[in-house]
């Protein structure tokens, strides 16, 4: 069985036609993992028995004509900050290392309802804070395309898992680019849905006004299939949008069938192309623009004038929210506790020993910008500039259907290449504004850097709830 770049839609046809069973499929993926994950390090843990039992159950349902749907028996790997009942969920942090999820995240529950088999705990930057997976407390994940390079982050395990053919798809989470950037570095597809499109229930909160769960996979149709499954209103998450969800896979199929971008206007935000791009990324973006034109798309220049402030706004708002969200991890009700003399010392010691450097850095920055005397100058001001950044997008979307930008200024970098935290933050420049505005975006493979042989991606951004037009265009482009 060749699982190279396998898609959910192709695998589901084979399951339906009896070419192989779900158990055979899962065993084949496990074989790939056994062969190569000691080198790559995508997974923190895999509960094989659970996975194979779920596969056998799916096979029996299918034999009895009671399959839960087209995708019954297809494995999908899960980032370690998304709860799967009975499995550990550590966020790649020592503090949460012993914790087992008492419940399924809504996204996981919805996938199970369709017969998908959520499995494995994918490595990540601790609490999703990082751009290279180097901040995991447990292991390094390597880029499967060049193991001297990082897979990106924070969903680096998710992206590496797809690039190494360990699963056809994975769930990740995106707070400032944590799905799109690793997808770009590993040459796979990654979607950050509109804020509120996918329930955050069961996603360990980093920055609640920015976090979204989304898919990493091999093509736009698969992204649509997963979004069809996990999108929609959830009474457990009061920020989920009431608007009807679905039709995403159909939109992608339509795009793939037509292969045409006629009638679509693509806006190029000039601030995203004004210097700072590596030659490789600039060249692939030129080729991407030419291809879009060749497929019938129209290109217009637009402006997002407050782009240069996005990183500063993000690192104020995201760290402020993180400092509040991570206040609950105190070693009392769950997680690792350091015994100390008295309650307050237990908080200090448990948090001091449980959190890694980057998490401490962000908690401190977030606490600082919220502290008395600094709140107005930093946090409140950042929220106001966030409004201006959102307005930039609203204005730009009046002039075009989609925005086309790079995902990252350069291809996947090498380990320890970015040792300075500010330098690392600045590498997120093209992805973070979209989390601030709440719109949706997709990272799609667009070319290869000749010098390094590493993939280069393009990002399509769409207005709020514009997932359909985004996936249709992505599918047409990737055809």
């Amino acid at each position: 069985m060749d699982l190279k770049k396998s898609t959910i839609h192709a695998l589901s046809r084979n399951l339906k036609d009896g070419v192989f069973s779900s158990e055979e499929l899962c065993r084949e993926y496990l074989k790939n993992i056994d062969n190569r994950d000691s080198e790559i390090g995508a997974f923190l843990e895999i509960d094989r028995e659970n996975m194979l039992n779920a596969a056998k159950a799916a096979d029996i349902r299918r034999q009895n004509g009671q399959a839960l749907g087209d995708f019954d028996g297809i494995p999908i790997a899960v980032k370690d900050n998304i709860c799967v009942r009975g499995e550990r969920c550590s966020c790649a942090s020592k503090l949460l290392e012993p914790v087992k999820s008492p419940y399924d995240a809504t996204a996981v529950e919805l996938l199970k309802k369709q017969g998908f088999i959520p499995f494995g705990r994918l490595n990540m930057d601790e609490f999703a804070m990082g751009s290279s997976c180097e901040n995991s407390a447990f292991k390094q994940t390597k880029n499967p395309l060049d193991t001297s390079r990082v897979p990106g982050g924070s969903s680096g395990g998710s992206a590496a898992c797809i690039a190494a053919d360990f699963a056809p798809a994975a769930l990740g989470s995106d707070t400032g680019g944590s799905i799109r950037q690793p997808a770009a570095f590993c040459g796979v597809v990654g979607v950050k849905p509109t804020y509120g499109r996918v329930s955050r229930y069961g996603l360990v909160a980093f920055a609640s006004s920015l976090d979204q769960i989304g898919p990493l996979c091999n093509d736009a149709e698969d992204a649509g299939i997963i979004l069809d499954a996990i999108s929609g209103f959830d009474p457990h998450d009061s920020t989920t949008l009431p608007d009807p969800a679905g039709g995403y896979a159909d939109a992608a199929r339509k795009g793939a069938a037509s292969g045409s971008l006629t009638g679509l206007k693509f806006g190029l935000p000039k601030e995203y192309f004004s210097g700072g791009l590596s030659d490789a990324v600039a060249k692939v973006m030129d080729e991407t623009i030419a291809k879009i034109k060749a497929l019938g798309g129209e290109i217009v220049e637009v402006s997002l004038p407050h782009t240069k402030y996005a990183v500063a706004v993000y690192y104020i708002i995201a760290t402020a929210e993180a400092s509040a969200n991570l206040a609950r991890f105190d070693g009392i009700r769950y997680g690792s506790r350091q015994e100390a003399n008295g309650l307050v010392d237990t908080y200090y010691k448990s948090r001091g020993a449980g959190f890694g450097d980057e998490v401490k850095r962000r908690i401190l920055l977030g606490t600082y910008v919220l502290s008395s005397g600094y709140y107005d100058a930093y946090y409140l001001r950042a929220q106001r500039v966030r409004t201006l950044i959102s307005r930039d997008f609203e204005e730009a979307f009046k002039q075009c259907d989609l925005l086309l930008t790079p995902v990252t200024p350069q291809v996947a970098f090498k380990f320890n290449e970015k040792s300075d935290s500010l330098q690392m933050y600045l590498s997120d420049i093209f992805t973070i504004a979209l989390n601030l505005s709440g719109h949706c975006g997709i990272s799609i493979p667009a070319g290869i850097d000749e010098a390094t042989k590493m993939p280069v991606a393009a990002q399509l951004m769409a207005p709020a709830l514009g997932e359909k037009v985004m996936l249709e265009a992505a599918a047409a482009f990737m055809k």
Partner: protein, 99 residues
């Protein structure tokens, strides 16, 4: 605006134990980050409303219905310590009389 962070004070607010070495390193690193984010001071935000949330939903209500929650033993399974069967064990909160 001063970009000097009183790291000890902030770490206390966050209940974070830092070694002297860590505190010094973080002081420097965060000083640079604060210097960078201070550039927001140059943006004119007169009359601009703050955005707390991209979804812009307000007053999301649900019916006030009593529902059963997770069983006690399931939630206690992750506790670092248990006493008296179903209570979470915590360290001493008030100093003992001898102290």
């Amino acid at each position: 605006m001063s970009s000097e962070i009183d790291i000890k004070y902030v770490a206390d607010l966050a209940r974070l134990d830092l070694s002297a070495e860590q505190a010094e390193k973080l002081q420097q690193e965060l000083g640079r980050v604060v210097e960078y984010i201070a550039e927001l001071g140059e943006v004119d935000v007169t009359g601009v409303e703050p955005t707390a949330h991209a979804a812009q939903l307000t007053n999301v209500w649900r019916q006030d219905e009593a529902k059963s929650s997770f069983p006690r033993e399931v939630m206690l399974a992750n506790a670092p310590g248990i006493v008296h069967g179903d209570l979470i064990k915590v360290p001493r909160v008030l100093p003992s009389e001898e102290e």
